[in-house]
């Protein structure tokens, strides 16, 4: 009998505003993780995603984005979070969708790669590649915002494990 390879690990639908979502106790029994966020925020802010509460400068990333009128590229070697992207709060219906594939998250002999596709129709589409410079298996993922903003009621965050 074939084995299931795409396993739902945890999810949350916010019943009120919240400024930080934390997935914890992630077992090292899968090969990759997939994180799917579909959310709104209260005020303009940047999204901050970190592994294992690591706030060091261990998240080099490159960014490619488009807003419908032009493209932009950027990168940094010293970021203190997996991903820093704009999350605008221009209205209450234009939800942002972020899908992150976290590769080899449980490996202890390599740094972790995260490939992100993120977008909001009022803003644009982003493609981001990031490396977490750590040999530790990812056991905790935190998703927060860089100011006093909050994710709003009804925002959803789902985590899946991909078996090898």
């Amino acid at each position: 009998m074939p084995s299931a390879t795409y396993i739902a690990l945890a999810n949350i639908t916010l019943g009120g505003n919240d400024n930080e979502i934390v997935f914890s106790n992630i077992p090292a029994t899968y090969r990759d993780l997939v994180l799917v966020n579909n959310h709104l925020v209260t005020t303009n802010s940047n999204q901050i995603i970190r592994f294992n509460s690591d706030s060091g400068s261990n998240y080099p990333w490159v960014y490619l984005g488009a807003n419908g009128g032009g493209t932009s590229v950027s990168g940094t070697a010293t970021s203190t979070s997996l991903l820093v992207e704009a999350v605008a709060a221009s209205n209450t219906t234009d939800r942002m969708t972020t899908i992150i594939n976290i590769l080899d998250y449980s490996a202890t002999d390599k740094h972790k790669l995260a490939l992100t596709r993120s977008g909001r129709s009022g803003q644009g589409t982003d493609l981001i590649g990031c490396r977490w410079a750590s040999l530790n298996a990812v056991h905790t993922i935190s998703i927060s915002l860089n100011n006093s903003a909050s994710f709003t009621n009804g925002s959803t965050f789902c985590l899946y494990g991909i078996a090898s």
Partner: protein, 174 residues
């Protein structure tokens, strides 16, 4: 238990548009993977959910492998990009993937998608975009078609997966 369930797989026996109706609302998200080619010289592909073809907001990035080919576009209809067509290498099909979170709940619907195609033997395009649909209704139908002349090629195919959220393995979230 797998979070991934095949809802529908369809391969065209002859040139036609791809039309899937009565999509079950039993899942959390939808993931769509399609193999597509246009039988005419028109490369454009249309992607329609619940029959909606206007008041859409799409923002996408595209590239053809050269720096000068990097582009950005926005649309307000159901056009999503270019795919292999009659002048492309024979038997070559493009790939379209889409992810629709919370497709069956009453939130405003968004689609994250990627499309790879080629309009001639040596010219390839890759696009990635976000689509906002002017609806909070559950997604129940899907159409993929040649944006200019309706039909996509024989052997074009689509697989629709339902993704079910859940919890397992002791992972907690708060």
């Amino acid at each position: 238990m797998s979070a991934l369930t095949v809802i529908n797989h369809t391969e065209l026996g002859s040139a036609s548009q791809i039309q899937i109706n009565s999509i079950s609302g039993a899942y959390t998200d939808l993931m769509i993977i399609a193999s597509l080619r246009n039988p005419t010289e028109n490369p454009f592909i249309g992607f329609r959910l619940n029959g909606i073809s206007s008041s859409i907001v799409l923002r996408a990035i595209s590239g053809d492998g050269s720096g000068s080919g990097l582009g950005s576009f926005t649309r307000s209809d159901d056009y999503i990009g270019s795919i292999m067509h009659a002048n492309a290498t024979a038997n070559a099909f493009g790939t379209f993937t889409a992810y629709v979170p919370n497709y069956s709940t009453s939130v405003n619907k968004t689609v994250s998608y990627e499309l790879f195609g080629a309009t001639a033997n040596t010219t390839c395009f890759q696009q990635a975009g976000i689509i906002a649909l002017p609806t909070t209704a559950a997604i129940t139908s899907l159409t993929i078609y040649n944006w200019a002349s309706t039909n996509v090629s024989q052997y074009s195919s689509i697989t629709i997966y339902g993704i079910t959220k859940g919890s397992s393995g002791g992972v907690t979230v708060s």
